[in-house]
Symmetry: C2
Amino acid sequence: MEIKELGEFGLIDRLTKDIQPINSSTIMGVGDDAAVLNYTNKETLVSSQMFMEGVQFDLTYIDMEHLAYKVAMIAMSNIFAMNGQPRQIIVSLGLGKRFKVEDIEQFYAGLNKACTKWNVDIVGGDTTSSYTGLAINITCIGEAAKEDVTYRSGANETDLICVTGDLGSAYMGLQILEREKSVYYQQVQEYNNKVKEAQNNKDERRLEALRQERAAIEDFQPDFAGKEYLIDRQLKPEARGDILNQLREAGIHPTAMIDISDGLASELKHICEKSHCGCRVYEKNIPIDYQTAATCEEFNMNLTTAALNGGEDYELLFTVPIGDHEKIDKMENIRQIGYITKESLGSFLIARDGNEFELKAQGWPITKD
Amino acid sequence: MEIKELGEFGLIDRLTKDIQPINSSTIMGVGDDAAVLNYTNKETLVSSQMFMEGVQFDLTYIDMEHLAYKVAMIAMSNIFAMNGQPRQIIVSLGLGKRFKVEDIEQFYAGLNKACTKWNVDIVGGDTTSSYTGLAINITCIGEAAKEDVTYRSGANETDLICVTGDLGSAYMGLQILEREKSVYYQQVQEYNNKVKEAQNNKDERRLEALRQERAAIEDFQPDFAGKEYLIDRQLKPEARGDILNQLREAGIHPTAMIDISDGLASELKHICEKSHCGCRVYEKNIPIDYQTAATCEEFNMNLTTAALNGGEDYELLFTVPIGDHEKIDKMENIRQIGYITKESLGSFLIARDGNEFELKAQGWPITKD
């Protein structure tokens, strides 16, 4: 169905009519000039992030439902990274002409899935047209008790540096997706060349044979065998709210925290800058999945670079007082990878061979070349 | 300066380094995974809106500073429309390759101007690249005492319908801007045709003469004489926070409120739908500026249509109990335009000649043809 058949208000009504807020902090959700929330006796956490087609996502890899799930998880991850609980999201969509009502419904299905997982209410949805691709902005609102809010700036000398899950897998998932995309485009190009040649030769039998081949090309199945975990990490990241509960139950109060969106090195630099400290991280301690290692070898890429700079893992990076060493040691899904130093000592990776390499930050490329 | 010389983090640092939060509700602004706010004993109001180049704005009319001022005012207007005070904004920008650091600095200058006017803190700024034009998302956060929050749904039968300022002027401003743009493009096209003709004729003297003319074309000055107010209304709208103070001082509690972004008819329909009521609005009472009326005549357009459906006025539309009639009558900048009826009576405009016309809603076109 064309979006213009419904109009802006009709579309929003259709997408949001079944939404029933579940959080007591949601006083009024979709349907007025602003959402009305109540965060008495809590700190309110707000984060807002934009995702542009062709920059943060490629709709040849990811469908609308997974895309929505991913951007919602990324938004919630920002709240978890403050040691808070996400409670509401507001979605803005800029929609190119090619999008149909069904696409947007799929998108909302993905949003709902992500929101249901973490008990988050959708409290606003702005839609507008776009002359080009898809633009998405997600605002996530959450809460934390004042004493729980964990900033990037709280790390202290001798604190242990911890990271959840494993790193570099989302990035290697992207490499595989890009390879399969280029294999597909190569097949299409070769096919088109054969058709052109047959047309030039006016070879009707060959053209008929090529017509038969066409379905096979269109039915291209990317080869993800043995790499399912990496593809999942790229297309369906999970925000690590589970870790916050684990830490709370263990009585651990992280001193600084950030989520890993741009890569471990970049996030470590943020913590060090804001906390006015340095760090040492052991290459051998960085958690890496077997599939990540195998795929790096296959692609002839440096494994540590993938883990340090790959990004999009949405794992949590945090520091804890050194006294929590044993508690952390017993916890699943958390690895101690190094320690905080004074600022004058700088930020370094200690390689397996004992050499030290300075850590460098890098963000999203903000202009495309 | 090219944005890539600074990188994402360098750009954000440069733009936000001088920002000093002034609101007590701003615990932590820019620089972490989320802003940290405190709204104890207040309702938190949150609104988020996307603006796409070529759809909501045209950079041939408006410079980056005015654009930022405008989108910030629109965002704040959403909070005022809940009878609340805006306190913080978060800005996301998707930047095409053509934008330089200086453009973004101009944008932030406009944001700062708007924020200073209403004591609002910039507490977050996400920037990303865009493959195409400029995409902007503004999230505005504000507060209101629980008893002050004014929804669209609170209008009651016999309530008076009030509107601030005047209507249709921003829309007529847009008509003038579009006319001047087309005059300019026509001049450019005629000039290019003359150059082509001279080139075909190899007429060097004519080409030299045309080269002299070029500066005059490039120096095109749009003709806004006598229309300054309309241009200002389109390019520099002001959110009507002043009215909320006036109402409070007069002891008036509006029963329903909305801001006029899509046009009076559309917003009236929203109030009627949410409040389950109908309305009667008198054409003769709709406030219209002299320049709006004169320009409608010049463009051979229907004045009431411009006022009803023009949009972008960002005036406030609200209802008050009929007992407030005299108080409102004494207030500057507020006009009583009609009254609320039961739902079964429908929503109608009463024309000057006594005929009744049903009011219809319309939003932004969400797909461009």
